[in-house]
Amino acid sequence: MYDKYQPVIGLEVHVELKTKSKIFCTCPVAFGCEPNTNVCPVCGGLPGSLPVLNKEVVNMAIKLGLAVNCQIAEYTDFYRKNYFYPDLPSNYQITQGDDPICAKGHLEVDTDGVKTKVGITRIHMEEDAGKLVHSGDTISTSQYAMADFNRTGTPLLEIVSEPDIRSAAEARAYLEQLKAIVEYLDISDCKMEEGSLRCDANISVMPKGSDVYGTRVEVKNLNSFKAVQKAIEYEIYRQMCALEDGTPLYQETRTWDDGKGVTLSMRSKESAQDYRYFPDPNLPPVYVSREWVDGIRESLPEMPKERKARLIELGLPEYDAKIITSSKAMADYFDACYEKYQEAKAISNWMMGDLSAALNSAGQDFKNSPVTPDMLVELLKFIADDTISGKIAKTVFEEAFQTGKAPGEIVKEKGLVQIKDTGAIGEMVDQVIAANPQSVTDYQAGKKQAIGFLVGQVMKLSQGKANPGMVNKLLQEKLSE
């Protein structure tokens, strides 16, 4: 069945911008405040209030536009999108119409090594709505709802892709790479679970070789990268089955039920509202000069693609460079380490291995890692100069991660410095030889692997502190005597 059909996918991504103030008023953009504490007459939609555009939103939109190869509009304006909803105080959302700030861009997407180009139709600026807090456990049993307008007027960028995406994996890769870019630009927190990055997917399926798109379905409520991929996979499967069975497909909006792993119908497009888009007479159009755009272009930070190339030049394999640059926090961590210690591969090994694992299980990220770049570098230097063994290093790392103590301090406190004294190791070797005559005999009879056991015994005796290379060497010498 999968050979017969071609999925066609487009994504609509909303990114909450981390400006100081809201898009049309001076209320702060903040999370986790008491309900309705960051509200003023403007974002509260009171009669007589007027919106005034926060220019920083335009700056951020242009940044993102440039980073994804968009054309930046010379003229751009704002529209009212009209619909009644209790979390929308004026019952219209201020958004953009036919002249968005950015259009006609693209993103180069790497899906497991396969490179594709996904077109970006447009990026536009708009205001976020408030939130409804329902009483009771479920919406259907809820007695009443309360509106919290703290989020109302938080600036959003909506990034609309072309229907260029052909698989769920590619959609996920596109989203991850878009997220990385937004993070690199430092314009949003990009937390899907908190809603600062949101994604809706438009999915259709057509017979392979056809150039007529199938019936399009919009899927909402995708709250993680995994959900995006799983929902698209499910929806492709559902639509293909329908086509095989001859069941009709409807143009509709569906919601992803993460628990059940299915999409469910929300509303059909037949009943879709006419939003009566209308240019907002309170907001004069914005004219974007070349100088404005050039100024922003010059201030753009290094993007994931360039950064990855630079890391490869520093000696990292492409795989490592890709993983490390996929998140700005991770790449920044790497750079901070590399600045003090120029062993790129050693850094990436630890970052991608023990550190990532520890951060994941602790639910933390590279930005606020308890093991700072300085600490990791200290640890790596201990390993390099044989102060501690790689095995001991893991213990020290764990301790450092838990306590935040510097590796040097831990090594000193616990007396973990590697034993490199030939005399001391020699004594332990002698002890082990004496205690294990059978292994010695085996070794001398040609069973060379028996030395492994003896090395292990010496290490055990030294509580792991003996230098394994020296143990090996001394054992060999003594056994050959």
């Binding site: 009171l46 007589g48 009209n82 105080p89 004026s90 209308f278 007479p281 309170n282």
Partner: protein
């Protein structure tokens, strides 16, 4: 005690400065006048008498302390009921906002207060400024001080009636399609619609955002210029406010209009124009010519479509501006049993909004539907551009355009003209709003015992020029600070 309420603001301000009268005396005098005539006029929907007297007493202390005060210091004024302030409700004379006191103050209210004026209350208006007779107010109509059962005009009918009846020395109104000028003409006072962007709209309930403009209603042109000095200016809270240098609007009130060119558009003298008004306006033009102005005929050909454009653009914007009134977080909510939030919103709006508002919301919603957008709204915008271009062309040749403000004088509540005539009245008014220009109406005579308005229009940001010409006419004609006969007769 002299009837202080009969004087103009600048006369009274001089008396205060000279310590001839106190602010308390003046305020008390105007409040007494209010007590005497308000029962008949019904200019106000909310008053703050005690607050006003306290402010007057505080003002007297400042005078006694020898503080430097401005030219409107101590003057009792009124605000139209669509201007937000925290000291009393701001309802736009709608049931839906009848319990609503704004938590913030409109820029224009701050400014006029900073000039030292004393606010007495808020004046009656058509609901959300939709109407031209002040009869769509939730609080009932206002009576024109010039005659029994006569409308004061609208939508700033309460503001104009208050000034005419001596219940305020000056008023602030708002003008979307003539809502300052037409009631000023009907009530025999001066009403000025400044250039769009000249006065901040922040905090003033929107009717049609792209047309609304706040302006003064006064007893003479000098008062109007003084009020403009107080309220004009860039406001960063209003993105449509113009960041331009603000002139001293009183600087050229010297009666000198020699060499100024006046355009007279034939379109503004249609056959439906009341012959008495035509005569008065022609007389005014002759007077201005005698003062050295050069009169020439001009044409505004697009003006015949202007009204249609106005009646599409305005409802379209209204339909969206009114949508925020849903009962969710403020206003009078109609709770419903067994309904959801949409039922509540529908019930709130059904009961809270008046018929005129609803009909414009429905019309506007229709014009903005995807199928109607092109044939109506987009076409109306094109007409608006043409109207603007007409004015631009004419203003290349002339300094001001002069004509009547209205086709008729005030009419009786009980014998309303047909709606076509009513709308045609707006014909002479809406053009300035569509083009964003400035225009003044000032009395130019009495016909059948009722005042007639002379309209002087200027190009955008030529506000000062319009005031200069209006002042000249006022000086030469001697028609100013008229005392309305009906209220005077003690009939009101």
């Amino acid at each position: 005690m002299v009837d202080l309420f009969r004087f103009t603001a600048h006369e009274l301000a001089d008396k205060i400065k000279e310590k001839e009268i106190s602010c308390t005396e003046l305020t008390q005098n105007v409040l007494d006048r209010m007590d005497a005539v308000e029962g008949g006029v019904h200019a106000y929907v909310n008053t703050v008498k005690e607050q006003a007297l306290k402010e007057a007493a505080a003002a007297d202390k400042k005078i006694a302390a020898g503080e430097q005060v401005g030219p409107l210091f101590g003057i009792p004024i009124s605000l139209k009921d669509n201007m937000s302030s925290t000291d009393m409700p701001t309802t736009s004379c709608s049931r839906i906002l009848s319990n609503f006191t704004a938590p913030y103050t409109a820029t224009v209210v701050e400014k006029i207060r900073n000039a030292g004026t004393i606010v007495l209350g808020k004046t009656n208006m058509d609901e959300f400024a939709m109407g031209s007779s002040t009869i769509t107010s939730y609080y009932g109509p206002t009576q024109n001080p010039w005659g029994k059962d006569l409308v004061p005009g609208g939508s700033s009918g309460g503001a104009a009636a208050a000034v005419a009846a001596g219940e305020a020395i000056l008023s602030l109104g708002s003008d979307t399609g003539g809502s300052i000028r037409q009631p000023a003409a009907f009530c025999g006072v001066v009403g000025f619609k400044p250039t769009y962007g000249m006065v901040s709209r922040y905090g003033v309930h929107a009717m049609t955002c792209s047309l609304d403009q706040v302006g003064p209603i006064t007893k003479d042109v000098r008062d109007c210029a003084l009020a403009m000095n107080a309220i004009a200016g860039y406001d960063k809270k209003d993105a449509t406010s113009a960041n331009v240098p603000i002139p001293d609007f009183t600087a050229n009130l010297n009666g000198d209009i020699k060499g100024m060119r006046i355009g007279v558009p034939s379109e503004y003298f249609p056959s439906k124009l009341h012959p008495g008004i035509r005569e008065k306006v022609e007389g005014a033009l002759k007077l201005l010519e005698e003062q050295g102005a050069i009169i020439e005929e001009v044409s505004l050909p697009a003006s015949k479509y202007a009204l249609s454009a106005y009646y599409i653009i305005s409802p379209a914007e209204i339909s969206l501006n009114i949508s925020r009134l849903d009962g969710v977080s403020y206003g009078v909510r109609e709770d419903v049993i067994d309904g959801d939030v949409y039922d509540m919103m529908a019930a709130t709006r059904a009961k809270g909004l008046g018929k005129e508002v609803k009909s414009r919301v429905i019309l506007g919603t229709h014009f903005l539907c995807i199928e109607q957008l092109k044939p109506y709204y987009h076409k109306a915008l094109k007409v608006r551009t043409l109207v603007k271009r007409d004015f631009e062309e004419v203003f290349k040749k002339v300094d001001c355009i002069v004509g009547p403000t209205t086709l008729t004088t005030s009419f009786n509540f009980n014998s309303f003209p047909d709606s076509l005539t009513l709308r045609q009245n707006d014909l002479l008014l809406a053009g300035s709003n569509l083009a964003g220009n400035c225009a003044i109406s000032l009395p130019c005579g009495i016909v059948d015992g009722l005042p007639v308005g002379l309209q002087i229009m200027g190009n955008a940001f030529d506000d000062e020029k319009v005031l200069r010409m209006a002042y000249c006419f006022e000086q030469v004609s001697g028609i100013k600070n008229l005392q309305p006969t009906f209220v005077e007769g003690g009939n009101a």
